[in-house]
Symmetry: C2
Subunit: 250 residues, 2 copies
């Protein structure tokens, strides 16, 4: 099963979710691949790997290697990853000029679907060609939304884009769910946003809510997921509960 | 003086800074223009204006109107704005195909430099053609950085891009400063990141630090800046102090 973790709003927890949900899946005994599609290389750094360390997703999108050929161990047991590179900034301009620009990644998947139980794409904060490539190559989409007003604003637009991609390019694409992240239960704002999300989007919002906790924000500076950095913390437990909920949704 | 508020990292407080620094400047008696260059239209929404309400920055970039012709009152006294539109998503692909794609905005400034004391561009979370257009049209750049590890990671890359734009396209462009945002003084992580920033970048980091406060996050849901929503809050006072510091740097 291939998941895109996507939302054009910046800083909503896409990278944090791809990395920690991937690591939580591995703790449940699954073999997992995390793919960094963002020129910022944040998922690569969050696993302690070097940016630009070829082959990267840039070489995959340019057709030089398949995704399965580019996979390398990420550190935690059962977790593999494909790093990103700053060259992805060029791909945003180069991709639209190629033959069938939206299917480049889909044509380069290789055997990831049989080799891994789950693949998680970490998407950049944009609705550009790279995110579209990820959506076209995926079975499911997870949409992290910060429990804040501005993140709520853009969600409807994003979900509209999603149904356009499904209709025109990938009919089997489904929304796995909307994930409330960085939820600070002390503030009324977070509670209001969560209630509004559940009123609007009801069942599609995951029951699991990821709390704002400093352990989650500290883990990337050590190059390990929060499930390794602080296994009994609220953040780690929330991502484990999310892994079970995502698995159950199938 | 024209300022770009830019950083390719998502969710670091670009929109919040463009809107609230703009409003704080106006409280100091300056006439201010805030320009929303992000397809998410967050700055437009934060002032309570309608998205897609023509003319927008999309019509400016496509050469139909100048920036000064598109300016409209934002609500608070002395604050004007140019709204954004979802069509900007198309501009990312269309701009590179035009004649001198990086100078479109610069050619469409009109008389904003004489009509306004300060212009603030709210940039999208990317190093794409729209952010480059903003940097090419600006005198100064303000780079908000969340007091978190992943935001620190990408800063060096962003500053490298800045010097490339200065060298190749806009020799008068200068870094006004790096702004520490969403600083939670309760966490060691924020203190560590702030210390690391001041060690690496010393004088370029503004003395003013914007604290993480819920009033700042609530204000956009009412369509007004924090300086109107909660004038005596820590967030509002921090943005007023920042306005004085930016003015003093010239
Ligand atoms: N549950 C959480 N608790 C505390 N901090 C968090 C949490 N989730 C994410 N963060 C922090 O918030 C910041 C934004 O998260 P992250 O970088 O994962 O978002 P993103 O959507 O991937 O951003 P971008 O749009 O730049 O790709 C990071 O510094 C991260 O460490
Ligand atoms: N000082 C602060 N205290 C509390 N919340 C804040 C503060 N600054 C920004 N925020 C909140 O953090 C979130 C991210 O801020 P904002 O949207 O301004 O960042 P951005 O860099 O413009 O994001 P994008 O990359 O999507 O354009 C928003 O929900 C905003 O309300
Ligand atoms: Mg990310
Ligand atoms: Mg913004």
């Amino acid at each position: 099963m291939i998941y895109s973790v996507a939302n054009q709003k910046g800083g909503v927890g896409k990278t944090t979710t791809a990395v920690n949900l991937g690591a939580a899946y591995a703790l449940l005994g699954k073999k997992v691949l995390v793919v960094d599609l963002d020129q910022q290389c944040n998922a690569t750094v969050a696993f302690g790997l070097e940016k630009q360390d070829s082959p990267t997703t840039y070489e995959v999108l340019s057709g030089e290697v398949t995704l399965s050929e580019a996979a390398k161990p990420a550190g935690p047991e059962n977790v593999w990853m494909v790093p990103a590179s700053r060259d992805l900034a060029g791909a945003v301009v180069e991709l639209p000029r190629l033959e069938s620009p939206n299917f480049r990644l889909r044509e380069q998947l290789g055997s990831v679907d049989t080799e891994f139980d789950a693949v998680f794409f970490d998407c950049p904060p944009a609705l550009g060609p790279i995110t579209v490539n990820a959506l076209v190559s995926s079975d499911r989409v997870i949409v992290p939304v910060q429990a804040e007003y501005l993140a709520l604003e853009g969600l409807v637009d994003f979900l509209t884009t999603l149904s356009t991609v499904r209709r025109e390019m990938n009919p089997t694409l489904e929304l796995a769910g909307v994930l409330v992240t960085m939820h600070d239960e002390r503030t009324r704002l977070a509670q209001d946003v969560e209630r509004e999300l559940r009123d609007h989007f009801s069942e599609t919002v995951f029951r699991t809510v990821i709390p704002r906790t400093v352990r989650v924000a500290e883990a990337p500076s050590y190059g390990i997921p929060v499930t390794d950095y602080s296994p009994s913390s609220r953040g780690s437990e929330a991502y484990l509960a999310l892994a079970e909920e995502v698995l159950a949704r199938g």
